[in-house]
Symmetry: C2
Subunit: 205 residues, 2 copies
């Protein structure tokens, strides 16, 4: 990574932390450049305005997220080739990863942007929407594979179940923050795991 790309990455990391803690509108460029130890000109060299910073931030966030989830569920599949058990293992790994964050989850950029919709243009909203649809696609594929072997015990739409995990992670982050209980997120992910167990349990009824 060249010198320019390094400064850019540093700016993105500082901005992400600040925006997740204070919101986009309340995050000043002045504070970002103070922490990054560059000047305003330096900032505007990398991003032509605040909107472009936001765009770059979301893109980076979704890419990193994709890689993380890819690795996690690939590892889970290597530990057990049955799709249901692999998914349950993946969820446990995910919960453990969330539990290991000492200060709790720092927050999801998608959520921040949704809760400040008026500040962003269609471009950014399309990015977050496509990111969310990518989560849906990932989990639908896993769930469809599971339901081929294990018929579900309740008549539920698999798209809803696929979105359920995203809902619970987003909600769990908020509950962790609101309650000041960092472990809450992991606990809620494990409850989703409990639901999956009950939904696909072959010994039911």
């Amino acid at each position: 990574m060249g010198k320019g790309a390094e400064t850019r990455e540093r700016l993105l990391s500082i901005a992400e932390a600040a925006i997740l803690a204070k919101g986009f509108g309340a995050t000043s460029i002045d504070e970002l450049i103070a922490e990054a130890e560059i000047t305003k000109s330096g900032f505007f060299y990398h991003f032509k305005d605040k909107t472009e910073l936001a765009r770059a931030l979301v893109r980076r966030y979704l890419e990193q997220d994709e890689i993380l989830l890819d690795n996690l569920f690939k590892r889970a599949r290597e530990l057990n080739e049955d799709p249901l058990h692999a998914f349950l293992i993946g969820l446990k790994l995910f919960a453990e990863m969330m539990a290991d964050l000492p200060e709790g989850h720092p927050g999801c950029l998608v959520a921040t942007i949704c809760y400040q919709e008026r500040l962003f243009d269609k471009d950014i909203h399309d990015l977050t929407r496509n990111g969310t649809l990518a989560w849906r696609k990932r989990f639908i594929e896993l769930l469809n594979e599971i339901s081929e072997t294990y018929p579900p015990n309740d008549d539920v739409d698999m798209v809803e179940v696929a979105d359920f995990i995203s809902t619970i992670v987003e909600g769990g982050i908020i509950m962790s923050k609101a309650l000041r209980e960092p472990e809450k997120l992991a606990g809620q992910i494990l409850l989703f795991r409990s639901y999956i167990k009950l939904l696909f349990n072959p010994r039911m009824f």
Copy 2:
């Protein structure tokens, strides 16, 4: 309601909508007074600063929320005196209420504040935390009553299950916004209902 209280309420409603759409830091007092058609002096007559506006906003939000949930689950109990079935009816009523919001849920103030933590003092964070704990208390009581008659089919902590509904509502609001699918929230609440059905179903195993 006197003239003063009326203006105050109008200000609070305008501020709530603006803050849920743009965030606290990005909401200017100037835009609030423009929409309320009063002057800056008028604003500072009612609230000594922006922080006091936030405090009043959260208090009002949690009070209204409490009343809404009280009525909803009281009505559900009147329709069926079995605690499990009453709860399932309550969840259906809740989902229907959320589905009836034409533009989707406008957002939860607790979530907004959690995602802009650095902007608020301990006072406000205590308010949101106590609000969340009130949700927990409400649902723990309902769940404990259910589990006396219906032993749960999985070994889960009832506190986690009580928080699960709050998690799903908070997450469902974000998913609705991110996907631009207002119905998503109701669908996710109904999935929680599906979980409750599976968890307490007496015909299991």
